[in-house]
């Protein structure tokens, strides 16, 4: 098959950086010729058979080798599925090929309906190499080329799968047209520092994670025909637990759950951020490399990078940590964007601010929210106090009232225990909600700093968005009867990147239009009025 694949001029083993090709297009072997995917792709397709086969083996093990008729049927079904998958994979592999010409990346596929997709090289924004553990075992990798469309799937070409060396080289080819000017400062923005591992338990939803894991383990056992509740030692453990001193065993159990969750969080951190490196591959390309079992290498073009978000989830914030995400176009749909936009693992806040600044190529504006409207860019403009009232009311209305009312209602109907639960919940939840509302309000602020728009909001996750002003593609002003009465308006900046819409919640009604007009001039200027000549709405034609 494709002999062209292996005869690279001794491509230096590990990570061939995108070669700084100069003016004329790369003289790569195979340029313009149709190339095949790796035949090992076929094996990857069989990977999903692992789970049923594994569970079958476990069943055989659990039942002591006595395989029932049901299991034989399962085995036959798996064999049939194997045949179908292999055949389909073979056809797909045989009928898919691709080439890189001077202008475009072309992929041909399809058995009967031949489909040729051609993406101009200058439209390719990101090139993502992803390898699952199975892919890595077979030495192949999946290449995804994202284009400017930023849309759902349509803008993306993926090649499943290529040998690793070939994938790296192809990425070099695809991104070769990016200007390869020397980066002035140290191109490496950040490397993994294992002391950051202490932030891992502050990120994962520790307790919930354990329950989720326990639930899926139970489901898996159930599928295999093992009922955990019927196992002797589980039942005995629960009886012991019930008989023991609850004031001792309950906190001990909670502690165990937290410990287990923390270990899970640590494992996840290591898996996600092993050999993490964030660097400017050249003047116009930012690259994140990370992962232990699943390695991920995301490349973001500078022109597509519209800003960064400094995220501080509640627990992480309490521990003085933060993470950084990119606001960039062409990273795929929402789900993919969430996976690919991470620029920094949970790390000390100072480090996060530094990395965010390095990504923006300008010091990260990290101002405090203050009361007065000060023009200095060291301060975020605080929103009206009505925003605080709104947060309090919302919290009480949606978090405290329904649960208390439900408990009280049930208590009145059935048992007075729930009645006590109701007032205890109300007494405990009210201050918590008020505290969260106050925190949310204190975090709320906005400002224009140089070329950027800074917005901070949120309490469960305090997010500071720094967005390039020219990236705003549209403004939306949203009000409801409640905000209209409170004199507030929520502004949304539409951006062709990241999460598409970025909100500035609960601005003063009088200040919103001015802020939007100043932040992104030229969009709404012609629809503005000065309050003096009030209300010049002309009746329709």
């Amino acid at each position: 098959m494709s002999a062209a694949r292996h005869d690279g001029p001794g491509t230096g083993g590990d990570a061939p950086t995108p070669a700084p090709h100069t003016d004329d297009q790369p003289a790569v072997p195979g340029t313009g010729e149709w190339r095949r995917l790796s035949p090992r792709t076929l094996l990857v397709h069989c990977g999903w058979l692992g789970a049923p086969l594994g569970s079958l083996a476990l069943t055989a093990l659990a039942t002591g080798g006595r395989i029932t008729a049901g299991a034989w049927i399962t085995l036959a079904a798996i064999a049939a599925a194997f045949a179908v998958v292999t055949a389909a994979g073979l056809v797909r592999w045989a009928r898919t090929d691709f080439r890189v010409t001077a202008e475009s990346l072309d992929v041909r596929s399809g058995l009967l309906t031949r489909r040729l997709r051609s993406v101009p090289l200058h439209r390719i924004r990101t090139v993502d190499l992803t390898a699952s553990p199975l892919h890595r075992l077979l030495g192949v990798t999946v290449l995804r080329a994202g284009t400017a469309g930023s849309g759902e799937g349509s803008g993306e070409l993926s090649l499943e799968a290529l040998p690793v060396v070939e994938g790296e080289r192809l990425r070099g080819e695809l991104l070769a047209r990016a200007a390869a000017e020397a980066v002035a400062e140290d191109p490496v923005l950040a490397r993994i520092n294992w002391r950051w591992l202490r932030y891992a338990p502050l990120t994962f939803w520790v307790v919930g994670g354990v329950f989720v894991a326990g639930g899926s383990a139970y489901r898996a056992l159930h599928e295999m025909g093992i009922e955990p509740w019927k196992l002797g030692f589980v039942r005995r453990a629960f009886e012991e637990f019930g008989n023991g001193m609850l004031w001792l065993t309950l906190p001990a159990a909670l502690l165990a759950v937290i410990a287990l969750g923390s270990v899970g969080a640590l494992v996840l951190y290591v898996e996600n951020w092993w050999s993490y490196r964030l660097e400017w591959a050249d003047a116009g390309t930012l690259r994140v490399h990370r992962g232990l079992l699943t390695t991920r290498s995301v490349t973001i073009e500078r022109a597509r990078l519209r800003g960064v978000v400094l995220r501080e989830p509640l627990l992480l914030r309490a521990g003085g940590g933060a993470t950084v995400r990119a606001v960039a176009g062409g990273l795929g749909n929402k789900e993919e964007n969430r996976k690919r936009s991470g620029l920094l693992p949970p790390a000390p806040r100072r480090e996060a601010v530094r990395v965010a600044g390095g990504t923006l190529r300008t010091p990260f504006p990290d101002p405090e929210v203050t009361g007065r409207q000060i023009d200095g860019d060291r301060h975020l403009v605080r929103h009206p106090r009505a925003a605080l009232r709104r947060r309090r009311t919302r919290g009480l209305l949606f978090a405290v009232l329904p649960v208390s009312a439900l408990l009280a209602g049930l208590g009145a109907a059935f048992t007075p225990v729930l009645l006590h639960a109701a007032w205890i919940y109300a007494v405990l939840a009210t201050p918590a909600v008020l505290w969260l509302a106050r925190d949310a309000y204190r975090n709320l602020g906005h400002q224009i700093v140089g070329e950027h728009l800074v917005v901070r909001a949120g309490t469960f996750s305090r997010d500071t968005l720094v967005l390039r002003r020219e990236a705003v593609a549209a403004w939306t002003f949203t009000t409801s009867p409640f905000t209209r009465r409170a004199g507030l308006v929520t502004l949304t900046a539409a951006v062709a990147a990241g999460e598409e819409g970025y909100r500035v919640p609960d601005l003063a009604q009088g200040a919103a239009a001015g802020f939007a007009a100043t932040a992104a001039p030229g969009i709404l200027d012609e629809f503005l009025t000065r309050p003096v000549g009030h209300g010049d709405r002309t009746p329709s034609t």
Binding site: F477, A494, R537
Partner: protein, 172 residues
């Protein structure tokens, strides 16, 4: 920020077609009010036929939970929508207002416009109405102007197309 006289965003100049009210009313009837009223009617009928004793408490309950909200929605929503919905095509941007409970005003510069779609639904066609959707590169920037008359919709989509060509584009 120039704080001496904070500018305000005025509403768009042109209202949508008055027939849009009828369209919204039919829509309300088909989606929410109709089913609610029908449910109330069926329950009342069943109660009369089989459980006459339940009527004294079921009647007021149905009235408060189903009938009044359905009628209120049917009456209030189209009026409020008509008061709010408006549009305007400026020299450099297109501006639309919409909604009734949550009201939205959205402005997108013509330089970012990617496509202009005109859609006529089956009910809209009966009233000679159309919805114009202007898409930009960001899904949060798509502008939808519902309830235009056919002629207005056509003229608007043509003019946006023309103007968007003239304005130097950066439809990123």
């Amino acid at each position: 920020m120039s704080e001496h006289a904070a500018p305000l965003l005025r509403p768009p100049r042109h209202r949508v077609d008055p027939r849009a009210r009828a369209w919204w009313r039919v829509q309300a009837l088909l989606t929410l009010s109709g089913p609610m009223l029908l449910t109330a009617l069926v329950m009342a009928a069943l109660s009369v036929l089989f459980f006459p004793g339940a009527l004294p408490w079921l009647g007021p309950l149905l009235l408060v939970v189903l009938v009044l909200p359905a009628v209120a929605y049917l009456v209030v929503m189209p009026r409020m929508r008509y008061a709010v919905h408006a549009w305007e095509l400026g020299e450099r941007a297109v501006y639309a207002a919409g909604g009734w409970f949550w009201q939205k005003r959205r402005i997108a510069p013509l330089s970012r416009v990617q496509t202009v779609d005109t859609v006529r639904g089956p009910i809209q066609r009966r009233y000679g109405l159309a919805t114009v959707t202007v898409t930009t590169a960001s899904t949060a920037g798509d502008i939808k102007i519902a309830g235009l008359s056919d002629a207005d919709a056509e003229a608007l989509s043509r003019r946006i197309g023309e103007v968007a060509q003239d304005v130097p584009g950066d439809a990123a």
